[in-house]
């Protein structure tokens, strides 16, 4: 209040004097305090747990027997020969890669076609976005039911149309479980890409498309040379976000298959969860988590770099 009263008595200056500019900067310096509550809670829920995860990974800590022993790099040596870890890593890559490629390409094609169809006929776009509004666990339940061997609508339709002669055990066979999980995931995530690409297409200046058209450029070449250029930025960011999201996708897989049958849909996140809370082996679970964290850090650095490039 004391800093405020003298200037409140004066009429507002037309141009800020040097001293008031200096005072404003000093005041802005104080904005650091506004960050403190956020930093405090993040220290509690992110910084400390992250450090603790690294520390735990060098111990034999178990949830049943909380007396821990430092065992050096033993967990990492075990991990190096752990075939389940490699399968989980492969499953994570397949799940993430297929979901992002199918969702991304689907979203791109659909965004381009929707733009053509009656301009930006918003109602259709809104309807196509509906799956994104369905909670992850619900979508997983829904696809679990639809892919049932007996009573599942997918098998029922395929049987009735004589495309198959015997019901396919989509979720009960290691061969079909991963593709089925991916189909459900693409259903949820395609609208995200559609939304991002549609927004990107709106930033394409009409004049440029018109200019290309009067130069009698064909439909496809306008898409290739003009529109895709404008979609590059959104595409990079959407892809990175979804790669990271799918690397961490726990609810979809857990609710649809629980990582099974066998380990056919066990991704890293499922594996870490099971190690910690089914096998109670939290030392080893932390080691797997740390290795996975390193993989993701590489992605995160790439992500931040891209953001910096896009924003500056």
């Amino acid at each position: 209040m004391s800093a405020r009263s003298p200037s409140a008595m004066l009429p507002a200056p037309v141009a800020p004097s040097l001293s008031s500019r200096a005072r404003r900067q000093w005041r802005q310096g104080r904005l650091a305090w506004m960050l403190l509550p956020t930093l405090a809670i993040l220290a509690f829920v992110i910084a400390y747990p992250a450090v603790r995860a690294v520390q735990l990974s060098f111990t034999s800590t178990s949830l049943i027997n909380p007396i821990s022993h430092g065992i050096g790099f033993q967990n990492y040596r075990t991990l190096f020969h752990d075939s389940v870890f490699y399968s989980a890593l492969k499953n994570t890559m397949v799940f993430t890669g297929a979901s992002v490629v199918l969702g991304g390409l689907g979203g791109l094609v659909l965004a381009l076609m929707l733009e053509d169809f009656l301009g930006r006929f918003r109602v259709i776009q809104t309807v196509l976005l509906t799956p994104w509004a369905v909670p992850t666990v619900v979508a997983a339940f829904l696809f679990r039911y639809m892919f049932e061997e007996s009573g599942g609508i997918v098998n029922s339709v395929l049987l009735r149309s004589h495309l198959i002669s015997r019901a396919v055990p989509f979720l009960a066979s290691p061969k079909w479980s991963m593709p089925s999980v991916i189909v459900g995931n693409v259903w949820v995530e395609l609208p995200f890409f559609l939304l991002v690409f549609s927004a990107g297409l709106k930033s394409v200046p009409d004049e440029i498309v018109e200019a290309a058209r009067t130069d009698s450029a064909g439909k496809l070449s306008i898409v290739r040379h003009v529109k895709l250029h404008y979609l590059k930025g959104p595409a990079i960011i959407a892809t990175l976000l979804m790669v990271i999201a799918n690397f961490n996708n726990f609810p979809h897989i857990e609710a649809m298959t629980g990582g099974g049958p066998g380990i056919s849909t066990t991704t890293l996140v499922i594996y870490v969860y099971q190690l910690a809370f089914s096998s109670y082996n939290i030392g080893y679970a932390s080691a797997v988590g740390v290795v996975w964290l390193v993989i993701l850090l590489v992605l995160a650095v790439g992500f931040v770099r891209t953001v910096r490039m896009e924003t500056t």
Binding site: M1, A3, S7, A12, Q28, L31, M34, L35, T38, L39, I41, L42, F44, V45, I46, A50, A53, L56, V109, D116, F117, G119, R120, R122, T126, V127, L128, L129, T130, A133, T136, V137, V138, F141, L142, F143, Y145, G151, I153, S156, W187, L195, A199, G200, K202, S203, G233, A238, P251, L268, V269, V272, Y273, A276, I282, S286, L296, A300, V307, E310
Partner: protein, 305 residues
């Protein structure tokens, strides 16, 4: 997003204009292309809507209809038994729902407050380490929740925060606060600083400017942040599954998972009824903030859009 709102605005003012324009453009296209577009869009509409239809249809079927190996395509006769069964059935659906609403709403409110402060600080502050701190908070969004899960579990165990709403809400903050801070930074970046400077020159205090000048202009950002956090916590399975240890304190996602993967594994009618009820609030939330969806989904990443 600016483009989106102007298109909507234009249409309400002159309903015939843009639509007729689009129709003229559409007629100019070759018939082959037009039919390809229509077929693709129809297929995609079916792909998007049929699963949702199936969820609703199944939830209205009698248990005898659901049990058929070749399911009927529509409920006949329809019944609300699956819905009433949820509230006086074998597991506490109402309690799950209540826990979900309470934790999601409280987390949203806390996050909006913290994020408004942090976002303002990121956007307007001039202090040492502001840049690195801003990017550090962005980078924490990439941290896999599952890596934090084990140490957080032990931390909560020691502090007696397991199996409590408070612990769950604190846990949710690990993803909601970094996300919200970035989203709010983006919204506040979009408010011209000249407006604040004018108020400051008048001698208003820092806090006054923030509360009375900036925040009212950032209401859209506050709402978007709150709704997004609500959606993300409503969806979260991993944290409640881990931090909540008794069934009557569970939220919906783990509650339904634990109920329907165990004893009631084949009660598809009940499961679809529960699924539909769980979808409704989320669908409303999504369509309420449709204009800001892209911005929220790519918080921090697409500051230009």
């Amino acid at each position: 997003m600016g483009a989106l709102s102007t298109t909507a605005g234009e249409r309400t003012r002159a309903p015939s204009g843009p639509l007729r324009n689009a129709l003229v453009q559409w007629r100019k296209k070759s018939p082959l292309w037009r039919s390809v577009v229509v077929v693709v869009i129809l297929v995609m509409l079916a792909w998007s809507l049929l699963p949702i239809y199936w969820m609703i249809a199944t939830s209205l079927k009698t248990s005898a209809q659901v049990a058929l190996p070749n399911p009927t395509l529509y409920p006949h006769p329809t019944t609300a038994a699956n819905y009433s069964g949820l509230f006086n059935g074998p597991f506490p659906f109402g309690t799950f729902l209540e826990n979900s609403v309470v934790t999601a709403v409280i987390t949203s409110v806390i996050t909006v407050v913290l994020s408004a402060l942090a976002g303002y600080s990121f956007s307007r502050g001039k202090y040492l380490m502001r840049g690195p701190l801003t990017y550090a908070v962005l980078a924490t969004q990439m941290l896999p929740l599952a890596v934090l899960l084990v140490p957080l579990y032990l931390e909560f165990l020691n502090l007696h925060l397991l199996n409590s709403d408070l612990g769950l809400i604190i846990g949710y903050c690990s993803f909601s606060v970094p996300f919200g801070s970035w989203l709010m930074k983006g919204f506040i970046d979009g408010i011209p600083i000249e407006i604040e400077n004018a108020a400051r020159v008048d001698g208003s205090s820092q806090l006054f400017v923030f509360l009375r000048v900036t925040l009212p202009l950032a209401v859209a950002g506050l709402i978007t942040t709150g709704v997004f956090v609500f959606i993300n916590t409503w969806n979260n399975l991993l944290y409640p599954l881990t931090f909540i240890t008794t069934l009557n304190k569970q939220t919906l996602p783990p509650g339904l998972l634990l109920s329907y993967t165990g004893q009631f594994k084949t009660d598809w009618g009940g499961m679809m009824a529960a699924a539909f009820l769980m979808t409704l609030p989320l669908a409303v939330a999504f369509f309420a903030i449709q204009r800001f969806l892209v911005r929220g989904l790519t918080a921090g990443a697409l500051t230009g859009v």
